[in-house]
């Protein structure tokens, strides 16, 4: 018998999971983006960041049952990955390697927006698939008797 998690502990763990997956998404974008392919070796196919968005959101969908929270965290997952990517493109200007010019800021922002929008589609599919699969996984791994109340996160707040 496992002790149930407190709400605070549960959301802290979900926040850590979101953070870890966002870092993974950022790494996938950095290593597979066309904007950095001349600078980083070995550059990967763009399918990597699309796949990472799918897998990351799928894992979030497995652990988060509330649709609204899952939706928000999925969007933030894509946004966080894209923001780290944009900051990476602009990092040589912060390092003083190249000049801080507006055109370079615009370039970094444009590239980040581009991957953010492209990540949304696979992430949406992944979150939906994860949410659906999560139900099955829970039923398979966590058989619950009919008398046992559902965990708090599986019930709507009242």
């Amino acid at each position: 018998m496992t002790r149930p998690l407190s709400p605070l502990a549960y959301w802290l763990i979900i926040a850590l999971q979101w953070f870890a997956l966002t870092i993974m998404q950022a790494a996938a974008i950095i290593w597979s983006s066309r904007a950095l392919e001349k600078y980083i070796a070995p550059s990967q196919s763009t399918l990597l960041f699309l796949g990472s968005a799918l897998v990351g959101a799928f894992l979030l969908g497995l652990t988060i049952r509330r649709g609204v929270v899952l939706g928000i965290l999925t969007i933030l997952f894509c946004l966080g990955g894209a923001a780290i990517y944009g900051a990476t493109i602009y990092s040589p200007a912060w390092e003083g390697i190249i000049a801080r010019v507006v055109s370079f800021q615009n370039y970094a922002t444009q590239q980040a927006m581009f991957v953010f929008i492209w990540s949304l589609l696979p992430a949406s599919l992944g979150a939906f698939a994860g949410s659906m699969t999560g139900v099955g996984v829970r039923q398979a791994l966590e058989p619950r008797s009919t008398d046992e109340p559902a965990p708090w996160w599986e019930t709507r707040g009242n």
Partner: protein, 161 residues
């Protein structure tokens, strides 16, 4: 609950791998760009000379050295002339693009026009310095790189005859 911890564990592992990949990617990107950005722009000592005794314009020789591993074209450049750190003028003539192979050096003559009326009379006694930017296009890269440039000239009262 076991499934929950397995998924959290997988997420944590992916995050840890991702963190390493982010750091490595940023390091590679900055390292590569640093190598390409090693275009040296220096004022050729004692080359500055005023073109008129009223200090309205002057010319100087600027030396470009391409320390990058790729052929580079200086597409555009804007330089400002400062008297004791205060803006006094700039290069207003269109810059003619120059191309340099790796390790190649070229010297280009640049004309500065003093446009600050309040500063102009101090031309012969002020400490001169130049700064600005240049935009480079490298054969190996798919986008241009803009670099800050700058150097000290010193006090110059020599007027061209």
């Amino acid at each position: 609950m076991r499934w929950f911890w397995i998924i959290i564990g997988i997420s944590g592992l992916l995050g840890a791998t991702g963190a390493w990949a982010v750091v490595e990617g940023i390091s590679q990107y900055n390292g590569t760009l640093r190598a390409y950005a090693s275009m040296e722009v220096r004022y050729v000592p004692d080359s500055f000379v005023w073109q008129d005794p009223e200090f309205g314009s002057g010319r100087a020789e600027i030396r470009f050295t391409n320390g990058s591993p790729s052929t580079a074209t200086v597409e555009a450049m804007q330089m400002f002339l400062r008297f004791d750190g205060v803006f006094a003028g700039a290069t207003y003539e269109p810059f003619e693009a120059i191309t340099l192979r790796p390790d190649e050096t070229q010297v280009v003559e640049i004309t500065f026009t003093v446009t600050s009326g309040s500063q102009q009379s101090r031309g012969g006694e002020a400490n001169l310095a130049i700064d600005g930017w240049m935009r480079l296009d490298y054969i190996d890269l798919d986008r241009t790189v803009t670099l800050d440039i700058g150097d000290r000239i010193g006090v110059v009262d020599r007027v061209e005859e």
